[in-house]
C-alpha cells in the first residue's frame, strides 16, 4: 500500500477510535442485545481505505486523477530500474577494472622477469667477454715477446758471423803484410792475390750480413708496429662492443623507467575506479612495450651470438704461438658484423657464416644440458623396408671394378 495513503487511513482510524465509546457486554445484555456484530479494526481500515479512495476518485479537484497517478507510478518505476541498472553497471566496471589490474600485474611480472633474465645474460656475456679478452691479450703479449726474442737471437747470430768474417779479413790482411819481403816476389804476389780474394770474400760476407741484419731489424720493427696496430684495432672493436652494451643497458634502464611509470599509472587506475577506458590504453601500451622488448632482445641475442662467435673463433685459433694478426682480424671482422647485425645496418645478411669449429663450439653448450622430455617414452614410427643385400653386392662388385 502507498505509505501516504496508509498514514491517512491510520489517521482516520484514530478519529474513529476517539469518537466511539466503550460499552461493556453486560450493559449491552441489559439493553436486550443478544448478538453483536463485530467489526475488526483491520476490516474497518479496509473500508475506510476504499471509501477514501472512492472519494478521491470522485472528487475532480481534490486529489490526483488516475492518469497522474499512473504517471507518477511510472516515474517511480523508471527511477527504480535506472537505479538498478546503474548499480549493475558499477559492479561490472569494478570487475573489469579488477581484471585489467590483474592482467597488468601479470604482464608486469612477465616484463620484470624478462628484464632480470636479460640483465643476467648481459652480465654473464660480459664477464665471459672480459675473460676471453684477457686471455687473448695475454697470449698476444706472449707471442710478441717470443717473436721479439726470436728476432733478437737471429740478429745476434748474424752479428757474430759478421764479426767473425771481419776477423778473418783482418787476419788475411795481417798475413799478407807480414809475408811481404820475407818471401820471393812472385810467390808473394801470388799469396797477396789469394789473400786479397779472401779479403774481398770476407768483406762481401760482412756486407751481406749487415744487410740481413738491417732487413731483419726493419722487419722486426714492422712486426711490432703491426702487432701494436692490431691491438689497437681489437681494442677499438671491443670498445665499440662495450658502447653497444652500454646503449643496450640504457635501453633497459629506459624500459625499467617505463615499467615503473606504468606501475604508477596502474596504481592510480585502481584508485580512481570510475574511469572505464584505461584497460584498452594500457593494453596498447603494453603491446608496444612487449614488441619493443622482443625486438631489442632479438637484436641483442644476435649481437651476443656474434661476439661469442668471434671469441670462439679466436680461442679455437689456438691462443699463443698462432698468427695473432689473423686472430685479431677475425675478431675484428666478427665484432663488426655482429655490430652491423645488432644495429640493423643495411646490407647485412642475417645468417651467421659459421665454420665447422664454430658450429661444434656452439653445440658444445648443449652437451650437458639435460632436457625434460618424454621422447624416450613414445614409440617412433617404424617401417620395415626391402633388404639391400642385392644392391650392396652390385655396388661392391662395381667398386672392385667389375
Amino acid at each position: 500500500m502507498d505509505p501516504d495513503l496508509k498514514r491517512e487511513v491510520l489517521d482516520v482510524r484514530k478519529v474513529i477510535e476517539r469518537s466511539t465509546s466503550k460499552v461493556s457486554l453486560r450493559d449491552l445484555e441489559k439493553k436486550g442485545f443478544r448478538q453483536v456484530k463485530v467489526l475488526r479494526a483491520g476490516d474497518i481500515n479496509q473500508l475506510i481505505f476504499k471509501a477514501v479512495q472512492n472519494v478521491l476518485a470522485k472528487a475532480p479537484r481534490g486529489g490526483m486523477d488516475e492518469e497522474e497517478r499512473q504517471k507518477i507510478l511510472q516515474e517511480a518505476k523508471n527511477d527504480f530500474s535506472r537505479m538498478m541498472a546503474e548499480k549493475k553497471d558499477l559492479v561490472a566496471k569494478q570487475e573489469q577494472i579488477q581484471q585489467a589490474h590483474q592482467n597488468l600485474q601479470g604482464k608486469l611480472t612477465q616484463v620484470n622477469q624478462q628484464l632480470a633474465a636479460e640483465k643476467n645474460a648481459i652480465l654473464a656475456e660480459r664477464q665471459q667477454f672480459e675473460r676471453d679478452k684477457q686471455s687473448l691479450m695475454e697470449s698476444s703479449l706472449q707471442g710478441q715477446q717470443s717473436a721479439a726474442a726470436n728476432f733478437t737471437g737471429q740478429i745476434e747470430d748474424l752479428r757474430q758471423s759478421a764479426s767473425k768474417a771481419e776477423a778473418r779479413a783482418e787476419a788475411a790482411e795481417a798475413k799478407a803484410l807480414s809475408a811481404e819481403g820475407a818471401i820471393p816476389k812472385d810467390e808473394y804476389d801470388q799469396l797477396r792475390r789469394r789473400m786479397n780474394t779472401q779479403l774481398e770474400d770476407a768483406q762481401e760476407d760482412v756486407e751481406r750480413y749487415r744487410k740481413q741484419i738491417r732487413t731483419l731489424e726493419e722487419e722486426q720493427e714492422g712486426q711490432i708496429k703491426k702487432l701494436k696496430g692490431d691491438k689497437i684495432n681489437a681494442e677499438e672493436g671491443e670498445s665499440r662492443a662495450q658502447t653497444k652494451i652500454k646503449t643496450l643497458d640504457e635501453d633497459k634502464t629506459r624500459l625499467e623507467e617505463e615499467v615503473s611509470r606504468l606501475r604508477a599509472e596502474l596504481a592510480e587506475a585502481s584508485v580512481s575506479s570510475g574511469s572505464g577506458g584505461i584497460s584498452a590504453d594500457h593494453d596498447a601500451e603494453f603491446q608496444r612495450l612487449r614488441m619493443e622488448m622482443e625486438q631489442r632482445s632479438a637484436r641483442m641475442q644476435d649481437m651476443m651470438a656474434g661476439i661469442a662467435n668471434s671469441l670462439v673463433e679466436s680461442r679455437s685459433d689456438g691462443g699463443g704461438g698462432g698468427d695473432f694478426s689473423k686472430q685479431f682480424e677475425s675478431l675484428q671482422k666478427n665484432i663488426t658484423s655482429a655490430m652491423r647485425k645488432a644495429t640493423g645496418a643495411a646490407g647485412g645478411n642475417d645468417d651467421f657464416e659459421l665454420t665447422v669449429e664454430q658450429a661444434s663450439a656452439i653445440f658444445a653448450q648443449y652437451d650437458n644440458v639435460k632436457l625434460e622430455t618424454n621422447i624416450d617414452n613414445v614409440d617412433l614410427k617404424t617401417i620395415k623396408a626391402k633388404g639391400i643385400n642385392s644392391k650392396l653386392a652390385k655396388l661392391r662388385n662395381l667398386q672392385r671394378g667389375g
Binding site: D351, T355, S360, N374, I375, I383, G387, I388, K394
Partner: protein
C-alpha cells in the same frame, strides 16, 4: 607420416624401452630432411628398419595437465627454456587446431640458424633415431643438400652441426648428397647410372650419376613447402592447413576443388622448373659424361607421393626437348624412405665401416 591430421586421444602409447630389437649390422643411414628425419639400419636377415621422426615442433602452454595428457596420448614433448615444445606430427595437428604455423628446426633443407631452440631438439631427435652405435666407429652417412642454384646457403654450418653431433654419439660421420642417396637406393638395376631427384619439403635435389659417381648435382629451394606457401597465399589460409590439404590425397590428374586446382597449379610449375633446370645444366656443363644408353629418371621424397605425380612429370617432359635420351621416368617404390635406404647402402659399403 599420417594421412589424416588427427590426434588419437584413445591410443595410449606404452612406454617404449630403448630398443632391444634384432641384432643389427654395422652401418647406418640418416636422412636429414626439412620435413622428416629418418634413420635406416639393417639386421642380419636382410631386413631394413626405417625409423621416422617428423622434423617440426610447436610450443604450447606448459602445465602438469598437458604434460600428463601428452604422454598418455603418445605425443612427444620437450621442456626447453620453460616452454613446452611438442614435436613431430602432432605439432602439425596442433598448428591446424590453433591456426598457427609450426616451427621448423630446418629451413630450406638446412638447420636454421634463426631457430634458437633447434639445436638441442635436433640433437635429441637424432639421438633417439639412431641410438648408440652397434660397434666402435660405426659409419653413419647423413644426407646433405647439394649446392643450390637459386639461393644462398651455408652448407658448412649445416655439415658442421651434424657431423659434430654424430661424432659425439660415437659414429664415424660421413656426408652424402641427398639425391646421390636416391641413386644408391633406386638405380642399382642400371649400375647406379641415371638421374635421381629427391623431392623434399624444403628443396629438390638432383644428382646425375654415372656408375655410382655423381657427375652433376644441384638443388633448388623449391619443394613441398614452396607449394604449401603458395597455395596458402592464393587461398588465404595458413601453410600448415595447405600442407594438410595436400597430403590428404589429391590426384593431380583430376583436381576437383579450388584447393586442389591450386595445388595442381603449383605442382606443375615446380616440376617444369626442375626439369628445365636439369636441361639447362646438361646444356651448359662441360664435363658431362657421355651416356652410352638411355637412362632413367627416378623420383623420391615425400613431395613425389601425390597422386598423378609421374603423369604430370611425363606430361611436362614431353613438352620439352631434353638433351639426352631417357628410357623411363618413374617413382621410387617407397619414396619416403628412399633417401635413408640410399644412405644406408652407402654406409654399409663404405670400406671404413667395420665389417661384422
Amino acid at each position: 607420416m599420417s594421412d589424416k591430421p588427427s590426434i588419437d586421444f584413445g591410443a595410449a602409447a606404452a612406454p617404449a624401452p630403448r630398443s632391444s630389437g634384432p641384432r643389427l649390422r654395422p652401418g647406418k643411414g640418416l636422412d636429414v630432411g626439412t620435413a622428416n628425419l629418418l634413420s635406416g639400419v639393417q639386421d642380419y636377415e636382410d631386413n631394413v628398419i626405417i625409423k621416422v621422426q617428423r622434423n617440426a615442433f610447436i610450443d604450447i602452454e606448459q602445465n602438469d595437465f598437458t604434460r600428463n595428457m601428452l604422454t598418455k596420448m603418445g605425443v612427444q614433448y620437450v621442456i626447453l627454456n620453460n616452454k613446452m615444445i611438442v614435436i613431430g606430427d602432432p605439432a602439425f595437428d596442433l598448428a591446424n587446431i590453433y591456426n598457427r604455423e609450426t616451427r621448423r628446426p630446418m629451413s630450406d633443407g638446412m638447420i636454421s640458424p634463426k631457430e634458437a631452440d633447434a639445436l638441442p631438439i635436433e640433437k635429441l631427435l637424432v639421438d633417439r633415431l639412431l641410438g648408440p652405435p652397434t660397434c666402435p666407429n660405426e659409419v653413419c652417412y647423413y644426407s646433405v643438400p647439394a649446392d643450390p642454384i637459386d639461393f644462398e646457403m651455408n652448407v658448412i654450418y649445416h655439415k658442421g652441426i651434424f657431423s659434430d653431433l654424430l661424432r659425439k654419439l660415437g659414429y664415424n660421420p660421413k656426408d652424402i648428397l641427398e639425391a646421390h642417396c636416391t641413386v644408391f637406393a633406386e638405380l642399382d638395376e642400371d649400375d647406379f647410372t641415371g638421374i635421381g631427384i629427391s623431392c623434399g619439403g624444403g628443396m629438390f635435389n638432383v644428382c646425375v650419376a654415372f656408375k655410382t659417381l655423381p657427375a652433376l648435382s644441384f638443388s633448388t629451394a623449391r619443394g613441398g613447402d614452396w607449394i604449401d606457401r603458395n597455395v596458402a597465399k592464393v587461398l588465404g589460409i595458413k601453410s600448415a592447413r595447405a600442407c594438410a590439404l595436400k597430403e590428404k590425397g589429391v590426384d593431380l590428374r583430376n583436381p576437383r576443388t579450388r584447393e586442389e586446382q591450386a595445388i595442381d597449379l603449383y605442382y606443375r610449375e615446380l616440376i617444369r622448373y626442375t626439369l628445365s633446370e636439369i636441361k639447362n645444366r646438361f646444356e651448359t656443363s662441360e664435363n658431362m659424361p657421355q651416356f652410352p644408353d638411355p637412362i632413367d629418371i627416378v623420383f623420391a621424397g615425400g613431395t613425389s607421393k601425390i597422386g598423378g605425380f609421374i603423369d604430370v612429370v611425363r606430361d611436362e617432359f614431353s613438352r620439352m626437348k631434353f638433351p639426352i635420351p631417357i628410357k623411363e621416368i618413374r617413382r621410387a617404390d617407397d619414396p619416403l624412405t628412399s633417401c635413408a635406404r640410399g644412405a644406408l647402402v652407402a654406409a654399409a659399403a663404405d670400406p671404413e665401416n667395420p665389417m661384422e
